[in-house]
Amino acid sequence: MTLLLQYTLLYASVLILVALGGCFSERSGVINLGLEGIMVMGALGGALTMKYMAGLPGIVIVLTTILISALFGLIYSLLLAVACINFKADQTIVGTALNLLGTALATVIVKAVNTAANPDDVSSNVQYIAAKKSLIVNIGGFEFNWFMLLAFVLLITAYVLLYKTRFGLRLMACGEHPQAADSVGINVYKMRYAGVMISGVLGGLGGIVYITAGVSEWKFENGVAGFGFLALAVMIFGQWKPLRIALAALLFGMFRALSNVYSGFDFLTALNIPSTVYNMMPYIISLLVLTFTSKNSKAPKAEGIPYDKGQR
């Protein structure tokens, strides 16, 4: 049971981070379908940091990993921002390209790193078992992970940022009615950049949390297995509101956690369901949830529409 709770919280942390990322981007008016790719890049930065920092004091490792993952995500998200905000590119095409590019680029980089270290190693795996220990504090069998705290803190921050600050008000105005925002002197392009970049930071963080959640090495050829899209489903289910997103993330996180720990439950093993079914579960659930929540969605009105100053 503890294990289920632990994994639920971990996967919920991932989903909270990434879904909030999606939320900030969409609230500013840019649909970020590239979260998956951003996660991969964040994971790459974090994993390499952890690999090479093993042995240093735990706190240093944790903070550096967070920083580098966020930075990787941020830089990568700029590709989306430039294309969609400055060049008014189709957000779906660019997002999809970023997902494919993320996996390809990460694989190429990891393989290059691996082959450079050992010419016989042509795998795309990165190991971070040593450094992973510093992420975890064992509290009576429950492995508390610093990333859980990170997700919680960022959730609160996101809520305050959106609803209590000038920045949040302006950001939301750009996603709802950019012409109105422009007419009162708000720079829509800048705000959209901010939204996308925040989604890069959060997506990058989500990436490293995801790959360190269950395992201690990651095969980058596999990307992040649609988790970025699960986060988008969480965001839609959460109706673009941070607190509802958090609740949705807990629900989805539990289903994802089940596939890791179902063998620990006697009644679940007794059902004799193949493990593949548990693997499919989060995708099926999200499809069902989307079916029943998308009809009356409260999506930001101007999302997906490139803003053109000339067209008013």
Binding site: I93, T96, A97, A112, E221, G226, A233, T276, M280, L290
Partner: protein, 366 residues
């Protein structure tokens, strides 16, 4: 004369062609830079290898055989690209082509091995399964307002896991791979009608290759010449106007995605029933064919005929990637280049805009 030159740059086909070329050149160039970063000493060789693909073999016959291999994989890619293109015409982004491809592969291979059905029946079953999957996305889109990209991704993973489960039943005892169709499901092997002879007895070259090209032409005819195409494009450009004029826009969305699904599934059939590759039931990632289809569709300027060439090119560099020096680079460098090309395709509208403006300016001055 001058007037002609101006209209030349303003011509839509010319613009599309030029934009695609720019995407290709830029994509290769950035790929080259990545290679330089990884290892400057072999970068030139590596990028040339990627561009040359089968031409790296000095022996003409061997090269011909490997050209055959590229074509064998071009056919399914073209089908996936057509699936993406067809759906895009009604304004839908069929990223689910990847899953439709998977389900097509699963059904075709299962029908071939478990039921010993002939190839055409396998293909029909696969197409029906792909169409059904497309219909799910279409229904969700038109009646529940579910974004087809998100539902497509979910269905991709669901298809992968369920096909893995299905195909475990027909796998080899000692490996995770499905049994060889050439041995255990002979009736399902695609006929080659002597095409293999043209490629130095490459037995994988089958009717799939000309069939895929034929279907591309067919798609073009449907889109440009028929009432159905007129309705689809109108729905894609302005679904409110389509509804206003009484077109059944919901039905059209569903039918389109069904056709898209059938196309992608047929593509999978073309590949797996050639016997070129066996399905690994331990696969944990969705095959890239469907995603590369996106690249090919956009690189082809969303024109079925252009897509034929774009598919060949994408497959050409993907194959070429397999020949780079593995001690320095990984074959995924080709995936990197094709995803860069998709990214750059996002800029096509902007490029065309610049070309039109440039042409107008020039025309104005003269």
């Amino acid at each position: 004369m001058k007037k002609e030159k101006r209209s030349f740059l303003q011509n839509n086909v010319v613009q599309s062609l030029l934009a695609s070329l720019i995407c290709i050149v830029l994509g290769l160039f950035i790929g080259f830079i990545v290679l330089l970063f990884i290892n400057p000493s072999g970068a030139v060789d590596a990028i040339l290898t990627i561009i040359k693909n089968f031409m790296v073999f000095p022996n003409g016959n061997i090269a011909l055989k490997y050209l055959g291999n590229t074509l064998v994989k071009t056919a399914p890619l073209l089908m996936c690209a057509l699936s993406v293109l067809f759906s895009y015409k009604v304004g839908l982004f069929n990223i689910g082509a990847a899953g439709q491809y998977v389900i097509g592969a699963g059904v075709a291979v299962y029908a071939a091995l478990a039921w010993q059905l002939p190839w055409w029946l396998c293909a029909l079953l696969a197409m029906a399964a792909g169409a059904a999957l497309g219909a799910v996305s279409g229904l969700l889109k038109s009646y529940f307002n579910v974004n087809e990209v998100i539902s497509g991704i979910m269905l991709n993973w669901i298809s992968l896991y369920s096909m893995n489960m299905l195909l475990v039943k027909v796998k080899e005892d000692t490996s995770p791979y499905t049994k060889q169709i050439a041995i255990h499901g002979k009736a399902a092997l695609l006929p080659s009608l002597g095409l293999d002879k043209l490629f130095y007895n490459n037995k994988y070259v089958t009717i799939a290759v000309p069939l895929a090209v034929l279907i591309a032409v067919l798609v073009w005819v449907v889109l440009e010449k028929t009432k159905f195409g007129y309705e689809l494009k109108a729905t894609g450009m302005n679904k409110n106007a389509a509804k206003y004029s009484g077109m059944a826009e919901k039905r059209n969305i569903i039918v389109t995605l069904m056709i898209g699904g059938a196309l992608a599934a047929l593509g999978a059939t073309m590949f797996y029933l050639s016997g070129y590759e066996q399905w690994a039931t331990s696969q944990s990632s969705v095959p890239g064919m469907g995603f590369n289809g996106i690249a090919a569709a956009f690189l082809g300027g969303l024109n079925p005929i252009g897509t034929i060439f774009a598919s060949f090119f994408i497959q050409h560099i993907t194959e070429g990637g397999a020949y780079v020096d593995k001690t320095m680079y990984s074959s995924q460098i080709s995936d990197l280049i094709s995803s860069l090309i998709i990214y750059l395709c996002g800029f096509v509208l902007f490029m065309k805009h610049v070309m039109s403006k440039h042409a107008a300016k020039k025309g104005g001055k003269e």
